[in-house]
């Protein structure tokens, strides 16, 4: 079973190297997609046994994931995983999601930070993510425990149904909508996310994101 891990990166610098160092021992194919970073990602990943793609301009995380996923399909991958470049995700969680997908009758496995109490969220992030969950559940009509989680693993056979178009953070909720629309078999599994990385400038979720989800629901 050929497993490809798509790692979109935007100005992650040397943090990407430590993520690659953790990913490579898994034996999965690693596909790094540089989404128009200002730092020289090609130089940073030089010498690593990975596949490297580069967006000439910044298009957004959703677009970078789509490019990497398309490349994984061209490689002939059976399974594609999405994994953040900043080191927040744990490789053991990725492996357990891949193993679950391989040994169960599901087509996509989603990580969830809310199925256990091990993730130490910054307070603001916890509040905003919970609001996002309410938005997704009550307004969009989805019932997932962690709609904004970036760690997911799926079979390439469902790619035609999982054809997300959003190029920004909205791809997360779009993927969940596509799962429901196409009646894909899914499972959420608990994962742990590390928000307290050295030197990491936390990207704070904004309330405007919730508004964007809402506007997208009604006007897109």
């Amino acid at each position: 079973m050929l497993v490809s891990v798509v790692v979109p990166t935007y100005n992650e610098g040397m943090r990407l190297q430590s993520t690659l160092n953790l990913l490579l021992p898994t034996g999965y194919e690693v596909i790094v997609v540089d989404d128009g970073s200002k730092d020289n990602v090609a130089e940073i990943v030089k010498g690593y046994p990975i596949h490297f793609l580069s967006h000439p301009v910044n298009c957004g995380q959703g677009a970078a994931l789509k490019t990497g996923t398309e490349y994984a399909r061209q490689l002939g991958s059976d399974v594609v995983a999405h994994f953040d470049a900043d080191g927040q995700h744990r490789v053991e969680d990725l492996v357990s999601l891949v193993n679950y997908l391989a040994s169960n009758d599901v087509e996509i496995v989603l990580g969830s930070r809310f199925l256990n109490n091990e993730t130490n969220f910054p307070t603001q992030k916890r509040i905003i993510l919970n609001i996002a969950k309410i938005f997704s559940n009550k307004i969009i009509g989805l019932s997932f425990t962690d709609p904004q989680c970036g760690l997911r693993v799926f079979k390439t056979s469902i790619l035609d149904q999982l054809d997300w178009q959003k190029r920004d953070f909205l791809h997360c909720t779009e993927i969940l909508s596509l799962i429901i629309q196409n009646e894909l078999r899914y499972q959420e599994l608990p994962i742990v996310v590390n928000y307290h990385l050295d030197g990491k400038k936390e990207v704070r979720p904004k309330l405007s994101m919730g508004l964007k989800i809402l506007l997208n629901k009604f006007f897109d």
């Binding site: 490297f52 793609l53 677009a63």
Partner: protein
Amino acid sequence: MTLFQIIIIIFILFVLYKAIHRFVNKEISVYLLILWCGFWIAVGLIAVFPVIIEFLATFVGIKRGVDLIIYIALFVSFYTLFKMSVKQKKMEKDIVGIVRKIALVQAKKKD
């Protein structure tokens, strides 16, 4: 004639000159030239003979001519915004498509 009317007429003459100049240089089509000139000539006529807009306002059931102008301006502005938004989204989608193609063609495979 008031100062305001004189300024409007000078501005319209300038716009008409630019439109004709662009048409002569084949930068715009004859249809766009007619549309653009027609619009600004109408604005000029209304500026010189405000009774036209008062008549139109009464005809469509609005009390004041200036209200009709505001309604039309708002309608045109919102419609233009909508059209531009749709066009911008399409362009963004096209750009992402091109960027993706470039990335896939230039992908560096694992050694």
